[in-house]
Symmetry: C2
Subunit: 334 residues, 2 copies
């Protein structure tokens, strides 16, 4: 009597959601799963650091300034505003789902989020501090010392602790339960006819060759301008600056399409504000396809189904500086 | 049998907290009460607007940039960083408990929070937008249109709607239940001996003449430098710029001492970073008193008991721009 009952249960389950296993297995874009937070205290500390402008020389710029979690984890500017209003060299990628990328930065020069986090702090074009100064600031603040000690077992804060905590916070910034993911998991009503037509066209013309995986991108470096060259006045050369291999010239990390509705303007130079135009450019330059307005509209409608649940959390309250805290230098005096 | 029972209950209640009515009635600093939110949808819309950098020309500066709710509602800079990294003329006052002030800005040129909110948006030194442009941005975003329509009964958004919503959000930004307030309400254990000594000295030398009411300030305009002149290279002249009355020269709104631990640096020019030094300067210049280091330490300890519960809320998620949204101008091109 035992085996038949189990078999019946399995059959019933598979009849209840027949498409689930199929789509998750067969489609090249995979669902995003909610973050499993195994180190909540560390993530909470990382959140404070992510929002703390005292990691910048001016005391004005935090990670959240250019990776604004109210705005899709981006700044919605072509290139970012750095220390002293310097114009950044490249579009700020979204921090959302960045843990799912093969590497960090457009040229992949950081292997992971921890390595990435140290960059902007010390970049004179961005936060314009130094790791030494940032650590001096944090060490001067008793509440930070206590939090680091509770997590890392020492009040002797290092930059590795700082970037580790920020990275652990950033790993929580995933956006599950987009309508597309609901559809992937078997909910046929999650996409309408236009969106489904857009997705089918997206696959048919080959977009999933690069935009695949849970992030619908971030899994490889690809040439920007395969069939036709990409015209830009942005001097970035992409992956070659890391590898030194001339074959990597103009190769950039494929950006995630998750939340692409929120992360305008598009491409490494932030030159395109309209998602429809970005779709048109990609189809022509990468795939040699001239799409009709209807096809572009359909693909754009599909892309908007990739907007997931945005991270929701309480604004962190930062511990105050003390008389011993190195003071910010917002303006350079003569 | 009825009256005696009620009388017993009243006596029991008054014995349980004998100091409560006394201190609340007799002390010049009054407790801060929690915000009563009567228009939650409007406050939520105001929160979005408070955090939305698209109200600035650059798309980078929001109300929260200079009134950072992670940092005591201030930017912890002597003067603020405005559009194109312009140096602001005066220290940004905290937005916390600002609804309790007699007027807004150091010179009181805005009668209330709504009037204040329109200022920085259009100030070329600050957010450098215009009311027309800011409204065009908001009208181009369907989710904002819907929210305004649900609250104000029209999609025809005006600057008055915008500043009203921001003001209603700001009215929620009070900080009740500081240790000092617990003491005011009868909890003798809320202050230690040093803090109580500091408070008694604070009263004895006359600080409460100006720093009174629930915000411990914000109730009047007073001359900066009564007994001795205040030496500064900041050109602000205070209240005279509003009234034209020469007797108001160097009169400034008395700042709140609520959360003063978090709102360094101090005074309208932000020239003093250490609370102890600010106490020393105030005692000498305003009251002609040279305090000992111990007295300064005690008053400083008391002042830190004015740190209340910081507003806690979820980071707002802002609705995305559309193809019709006027684009930000972060950098002026030739």
């Amino acid at each position: 009597m035992k085996y038949p009952l189990i078999a019946t249960a399995i059959i019933a389950a598979s009849m209840a959601m027949p498409a689930m296993a199929d789509r998750v297995a067969s489609e090249l874009i995979k669902p995003i799963e909610p973050a499993v937070i195994t180190e909540p205290a560390k993530a909470e500390l990382g959140k404070k650091l992510f929002f703390d402008p005292r990691l910048s020389r001016s005391g004005f710029i935090s990670c959240n300034s250019c990776h604004n979690l109210s705005m899709g984890g981006s700044d919605n500017l072509p290139t970012s505003i750095g220390h002293n209003w310097q114009e950044g060299p490249i579009n700020s990628p979204t921090v959302l789902n960045s843990s799912l990328s093969v590497a960090q930065f457009w040229d992949g020069r950081a292997a992971n989020l921890q390595e990435q986090a140290g960059g902007p702090i010390a970049n004179p074009m961005e936060m314009a501090s130094s790791h030494v100064l940032a650590i001096d600031v944090l060490r001067s603040i008793p509440q930070y010392r206590q939090e680091f000690a509770a997590i890392y077992g020492t009040e002797d804060i290092t930059i590795d602790h700082v970037t580790d905590a920020i990275a652990v916070f950033e790993e929580t910034l995933v956006t599950p339960n987009s309508r597309f993911d609901l559809w992937l998991k078997g909910d046929d009503s999650a996409l309408n006819t236009q969106e489904l037509a857009g997705y089918n066209k997206f696959k048919e013309i080959g977009c999933t060759a690069c935009h695949n995986g849970p992030a619908a991108g971030g899994t490889s470096f690809q040439r920007m301008g395969v069939v036709e060259p990409y015209v830009t006045d942005n001097p970035a050369e992409g992956r070659v600056s890391v590898t030194g291999d001339d074959r990597d010239r103009f190769n950039f990390k494929v950006p995630t399409l998750r939340n692409v509705e929120l992360t305008y303007p598009y491409f490494h130079d932030g030159a395109y504000w309209e998602l429809e135009k970005a779709v048109d450019v990609m189809a022509r330059l990468q795939l040699g396809r001239q799409l009709s307005d209807e096809e572009i509209g359909n693909i754009t409608a599909f892309l908007k189904t990739l907007t997931g649940e945005q991270p929701s959390f309480a604004m962190p309250i930062l511990p105050p500086s003390t008389n011993a805290t190195p003071r910010p230098v917002p303006f350079e005096k003569n």
